[in-house]
């Protein structure tokens, strides 16, 4: 269906669906010459139920303005059984959903296993292309989301639950090295203070290039914590702009996107002909490589 609509939000919304549903060939065909404007991107990650959506709602409300339009891309997991999903992030953002300066889109993770969704990079670029000044990305809180989100956004906010043991858990998984800002959520619950102190100790040791990751505690009914987070994000964005290696950032994003497309293309090939899977590993590998470029072979 057409993406032209008298209603600009509908046009954007349609464009996002087209991008989200595009297979590999369509995705490649759609790669426009339009350069991505340099907008700031905030990534929010953390375990399931950590309070990411609740935090994004508060944060978007603080940061938005007539001249600062905010788009939220919220990813929830696809059920591996039915391939369906309950996109439940939005319900925590109800308070901001009516704001004309905020746009929220929920997306299922589909086959993607990295805490993001198929074509996330293109979805972010499309939102930026439609005049949003800032995009907030909520990852699915599982697996290696912390690593991949790093390549696609400018500022990574890691949300941690104030449960004892969570700090150790996070250290083991190595995710504590990935964040620019730590948030200990649900500070109204017991354990938050201890958690903040623990994370602070870890964070102090990882001052990289002059950025010392702050540790902020938030509680959903106390705006002050979110105001501190808002200020910390702005400070990080400013710091990053001053010293960002644009080439390295673009290269990391190009690499992530290419890897994702090739992985999906291989999935498509195996789904189209699953007798390939009867080959031994070497044979399967060679067959897949050969099939990655069918036009050349068939010519």
């Amino acid at each position: 269906m057409s993406e032209t609509s008298s209603n600009p939000r509908r046009a954007l919304s349609r464009a996002l669906s087209r991008i989200a549903n595009a297979d590999v060939a369509e995705t490649l065909a759609q790669q426009g010459a339009v350069p991505t404007p340099e907008m700031s991107r905030i990534g929010v990650t953390g375990a399931p139920g950590a309070g990411k959506s609740t935090l994004i709602a508060r944060l978007a409300k603080l940061r938005k303005g007539e001249d600062h339009k905010i788009a939220v891309l919220a990813i929830d997991p696809t059920s591996p059984v039915s391939k369906g999903s309950i996109l439940g992030d939005r319900i925590r953002m109800d308070a901001i959903a009516d704001d004309p300066n905020i746009f929220i889109r929920s997306i299922p993770s589909r086959r993607s296993h990295d805490g993001l969704a198929d074509n996330t990079a293109d979805l972010l670029a499309a939102m930026e292309g439609h005049g949003f000044d800032e995009v907030i990305l909520e990852s699915v809180g599982v697996g290696q989301a912390e690593y991949t989100i790093r390549t696609l956004v400018d500022t990574v906010v890691l949300v941690l639950l104030p449960e004892s043991g969570d700090a150790i858990q996070a250290m083991k998984a190595g995710i504590l090295e990935m964040a620019d800002i730590y948030v200990v959520s649900k500070a109204d619950l017991p354990g938050a203070e201890l958690m903040v102190a623990e994370i602070q100790q870890v964070a102090e040791r990882q001052t990289a290039d002059g950025w010392a990751p702050p540790v902020i505690s938030t509680s959903r009914n106390d705006l002050e914590g979110f105001a501190r987070l808002d200020a910390a994000i702005s400070a990080h964005a400013k710091w990053r702009k001053a010293r960002m290696d644009e080439t390295a950032t673009q290269r990391a994003r190009a690499r992530y996107q290419a890897q994702g497309l090739i992985a999906r293309r291989i999935d498509e090939i195996m789904e189209a002909d699953n007798s390939l899977l009867d080959l031994d590993p070497r044979g399967l590998f060679d067959a897949l490589i050969a099939k990655l470029n069918p036009s050349r072979r068939d010519a």
């Binding site: 209603n7 509908r10 696809t78 059920s79 369906g84 309950i86 996109l87 009516d98 746009f103």
Partner: protein, 132 residues
């Protein structure tokens, strides 16, 4: 046939505060492969239509137990049309007497689901409608 790739908004307009039925339907649609968005209790038709547009859903399912289904279906259809989204399919479920069905269909409801129906039947009807 499945609901894979279909986006459906389950919404509760009106004043009643019971959303167990809405949640059960949401899960059944998810199990049939749909991507389901749920808006929570007591949303206005205008709000529901805006969410439907931003989320680019294929269908909106209204769950209504308050008895004001006629007004709410009409109003939601009108709000969708106003946002250039009159092509989004509209379903309604809840306690809805059969003498109101014709009027609801005229107002734009493509399916009317009552408590007596099996979940499977509801899912099959949605599936048939969205794949038509």
């Amino acid at each position: 046939m499945s609901l894979n790739g279909k986006r459906i908004l389950i919404a509760k307009p009106g004043l009643d505060g019971h959303d167990v039925g809405a949640k059960i339907i949401a899960l059944a649609l998810r199990d049939a492969g749909a991507d389901v968005i749920y808006t929570g209790l007591r949303r206005s038709p205008d709000y529901i239509a805006r969410v439907a547009v931003d989320e680019d859903v294929d269908a909106v399912g209204l769950s209504i137990l308050s008895g004001s289904h006629k007004e709410l279906v009409e109003e939601t259809a009108r709000c969708l049309a106003e946002l250039d989204a009159g092509d989004i399919h509209l379903f309604v479920g809840g306690t809805i007497p059969s003498e109101d069905h014709d009027e609801l269909r005229q107002a734009g409801a493509r399916g009317i689901f009552t408590a007596e129906m099996d979940l499977d039947e509801v899912v099959a009807a949605v599936e048939a409608d969205l794949n038509a």
